[in-house]
């Protein structure tokens, strides 16, 4: 590993032979770029990862559909930084957030399936929301490129080679600084495109590839399905509901 390699995962480091598996504070992370874990309803067969850091099982279905190698490296670096490995869970790559984002970009959402994409295209106020002529997939990738350029200008390194402090500063900067007139709006890109995908990847049902093994649900205490609480409203009012510790997902019922 290079001396300034951040803790966490880098696909580039794997590709250059410098990668290491199982990086992180006692948390076993899955192989970068090959991280999709599908529990396939095998709840008993694969014990859930716990806050103490048990690993999720690697999965047969892996690999990116939309993201290229460099793009995936940046996305993995961002999600591993934004959802770091700690005593609550493994990092965002191991949680499947990068795979989630990739699948969303390749799927209906990323292809602008229901987005209104007819012109004319005008510069709106922020309150007008998405006003770009491109699909979310294309827009997300443009943003990754811009991010890489800034990173290169500042640190002579791509985002996935920055230290945690450098990446942190960069993310604050782009998420808070309004764009120069006429420039690509990285602020809106981060806050309205990347960040929501990141959150969805963490908290959506695991059928979409993120929130692997319901670890994010378990972390916050969301029980998921089946959600029939008629008597529980009284029994568990004001008390911790046992289902908070054993969330159930669509996978568990499929």
């Amino acid at each position: 590993m290079l001396p300034d390699e951040p803790q966490g995962l880098s696909r580039r480091s794997l590709l250059t032979g410098a990668g290491a598996l199982g990086v992180g504070a006692g948390v076993v992370a899955a192989a970068p770029g090959a991280v999709l874990v599908r529990q396939a309803g095998a709840e008993e067969a694969s014990p859930p990862a716990t806050a103490s850091g048990q690993a999720a099982q690697p999965d047969a279905v892996a690999g990116y559909q939309s993201l290229g190698i460099e793009e995936a490296a940046i996305v993995e670096a961002l999600v591993a930084h934004m959802w770091p490995a700690d005593d609550l869970s493994p990092d965002g790559v191991a949680l499947g957030i990068a795979i989630f984002i990739d699948r969303q970009l390749a799927g209906a959402y990323g292809q602008g399936d229901r987005l209104y994409l007819s012109g004319p295209f005008r510069q709106g106020k922020p309150e007008h929301g998405y006003q770009l002529a491109c699909t979310p997939e294309a827009c997300l990738k443009t943003g990754l490129r811009h991010l890489a350029e800034i990173s290169d200008r500042r640190h002579a390194a791509p985002p996935d080679r920055l230290t945690a402090d450098q990446l942190e500063a960069l993310l604050h900067d782009i998420s808070e600084t309004p764009p120069e007139p006429g420039a690509f709006d990285l602020k809106a890109w981060f806050n309205e495109l990347f960040y929501p995908l990141f959150v969805r990847g963490a908290f959506a049902d695991p059928i979409y590839g993120g929130n692997r093994d319901k670890q994010a649900w378990r972390m916050i205490g969301y029980p998921g399905l089946p959600a029939t609480y008629t008597t529980d409203m009284v029994t568990w009012r004001g008390r911790r509901h046992p289902a908070s510790d054993t969330p159930m997902s669509i996978q568990d019922f499929s």
Binding site: R200, F203, H241, I250
Partner: protein
């Protein structure tokens, strides 16, 4: 080439709530009813079945039950001198799509409007003087009073099995109910829902401040229920997947569970799903509707459907757009303030704050669409507005509708947006936080209206509806005032951390869901010069056209709209029968 179909007696445009109310009455009376609904029939698909009904990403985040924006969306500008931009993703409100309409994926918060709402201009003039109403505030009276609607509210609540507690039975104050409730003839059909920890906290806090919190009237059945039509509802499971979803337990009152099944098998009823009405065709002299044109979306074929009576039930926005596209009535002009179609578009002023309790389990995932305690002390004209500088108000409540984790994770102010501290805050507060919210009025403003967009088209090549809207000073002042009351409640509740409520002010932000309570545009009234439909919802321009839904509200109240939409729909059904037996201008 469009195919001309055999004439039907009654043609209903749109297959949502009000369409269901009309069909339910006219079909058993032997009348021939055809409902044209542009969206699908959802019954029997994953949307209503476990486990897929509980898919937050699909149904909530990606708005799976609502109309796709690439087919039709709306454009928005904040004032009449700006260029409008399309809402390329519809986030702020969610027009319904498919059999049952928006009432298939609604929450079920079911109110009666205040007695002053129907006579708002008259009421405010009498109490505060005409000068207290700013020139730009184009509020109007409805042309009827609460007394006219009261029996229909009663009927609607019985049909939909509303759970609640009466506050005013025939003028006699009832403990535990809304002290400001307009008088009602009977108790609610079902007892209130079981309250959550959050609701209890709210009730205790408001009690300390001298307010009397009461249960929000809910169309989520608190017990199994059989309505007067013999239709059955199951018991609410507090599943937290109500708004934006259909009810897997058949406990939420919807058109598809209570209204359409009643008439579906009758030979004199037909529901065509996937039928997009694109135009209302008037006779040569423009005084009557002769037919509607629709496209069968499965084949792309265009049809002309003649009829003798037409009911426009396609929700506020489509109601207005279809009139404009069909050149029925005079479009409203915000400069001269003449014309009526598109006039007095109103929305809803909402805000809220979050409270955090380290030692209490709130369990936000156990919720229902209309679960919560409410105070109504600061709604409409329930309090003295002298010297406040605004009119209107809203109800303040602790409703616990869901803890779905993509959207509903409350974090204390100042929490970083990512990293270990963010993760920890999620872990610490998800189960231990709640919110209080304001659901406020939006009074009409001369600059807020709807017309056709000059630039943007839908997939059929027809102009999109353009919405010109912004919150005004009255809204911001009202919101600021109500926020102050919410902060007092939060202080009384003893929350460890309280977030600052935002003020709903200009510019209106299309990126945030605020409510699907769009009103106005085909407003009702006693004077044809200032309204589109009469107090009997009959078009002033086209005698055999009636219009139903919140598009007829002259302005929006500080309540959710569906109570009066339902009551007006039931009253309309009776009027339609009367019209059919003797076609004429009613009343």
């Amino acid at each position: 080439m469009a195919t001309r179909l055999p004439e039907k007696e009654i043609v209903v445009i749109g297959g949502g709530l009000t369409a269901g109310l009309v069909a339910r009455r006219l079909v058993p009376a032997g009348r021939e009813v055809l409902v044209l609904e542009r969206g699908p029939d959802w019954s029997g698909s994953a949307v209503g079945e476990l486990p897929h009904q509980r898919d937050e990403l699909r149904w909530s985040t990606y708005r799976g039950m609502t109309r796709r924006e690439n087919v039709e969306t709306y454009t928005l500008r904040h004032s009449p001198d700006e260029e409008a931009l399309p809402m390329r993703q519809l986030l702020s409100f969610l027009p319904g799509f498919g059999v049952g309409g928006a009432a298939q994926h609604w929450n079920g918060q079911t109110w009666r409007f205040s007695e002053s709402d129907y006579v708002l201009r008259q009421h405010l003039t009498e109490r505060y003087g005409a000068k207290s109403i700013p020139d730009g505030m184009t509020i109007q009276d409805w042309g009827l009073t609460y007394r006219d609607l009261q029996p229909y509210y009663e009927e609607f609540e019985a049909l939909f099995g509303i759970a609640g507690k009466a506050g005013n039975l025939k003028g006699v104050r009832q403990a535990g109910g809304n002290p400001f409730e307009p008088w009602r003839a009977t108790e609610y059909p079902l007892p209130p829902l079981e309250m959550s920890e959050a609701s209890q906290i709210f009730k205790d806090a408001t009690g300390q401040l001298g307010y009397e919190a009461f249960p929000l009237p809910a169309a989520n059945a608190s017990q199994p229920y059989r309505n007067p039509d013999g239709m059955q509802l199951g018991q609410c499971q507090y599943c937290g997947h109500c708004e934006r979803f259909t009810c897997e337990a058949n406990a939420k009152a919807t058109p598809a569970s209570l209204l359409f099944p009643l008439v579906r098998s009758r030979p004199n009823f037909e529901l065509r799903a996937g039928a997009e009405v694109i135009r209302l065709n008037t006779t040569a002299d423009g005084t009557r509707l002769e037919s509607v044109s629709y496209v069968d979306v499965a084949t792309g074929q265009e049809f002309i459907q003649p009829g003798s009576l037409f009911v426009l039930c396609s929700y506020t926005l489509s109601n207005v757009r279809l009139l404009l596209l069909s050149k029925i009535g005079t479009p409203y002009d915000p400069v001269t303030r003449t014309g009526t179609v598109g006039k007095n578009y109103c929305y809803q002023v909402t805000s809220g704050l979050n409270m955090f309790f380290p030692d209490r389990y709130i369990n936000p995932f156990m919720g229902a669409g209309a679960l919560g305690f409410v105070i109504d002390d600061f709604n409409n004209d329930n309090f003295d507005h002298t010297g406040l500088g605004f009119h209107g108000g809203g109800y303040i409540s602790a409703t616990q509708t869901n803890g779905r984790p993509i959207d509903t994770r409350r974090l204390p102010p100042g929490t970083p947006r990512w990293g270990s501290a963010w993760k920890k805050a999620n872990a610490d507060w998800y189960l231990r936080s709640m919110s209080i919210s304001l659901h406020g009025s939006n009074y009409a403003n001369a600059r807020n209206y709807m017309d056709l967009d000059p630039d943007y088209k839908d997939q059929w090549g027809r102009p999109l509806l353009r919405i010109t809207f912004d919150f005004d000073e009255n809204d911001a002042l009202m919101c600021r005032f109500a926020n102050g009351r919410m902060e007092e409640i939060a202080a009384a509740a003893g929350a460890k951390i309280v977030s600052k409520p935002g003020v709903r002010k200009s510019p209106y932000d299309t990126r945030q869901y605020q409510s699907t309570h769009n009103t106005g545009g085909t407003i009702m009234g006693a004077d044809p010069n200032s309204s589109v439909v009469s107090p009997h919802l009959q078009s002033w321009d086209v005698e055999n056209l009636f219009i139903s839904g919140a598009s007829v509200f002259p302005q929006n109240s500080g309540y959710n709209p569906t109570g009066p939409v339902g009551a007006l729909g039931l009253r309309l059904a009776g009027d339609l029968l009367s019209y059919l037996s003797d076609p004429r201008r009613l009343g």
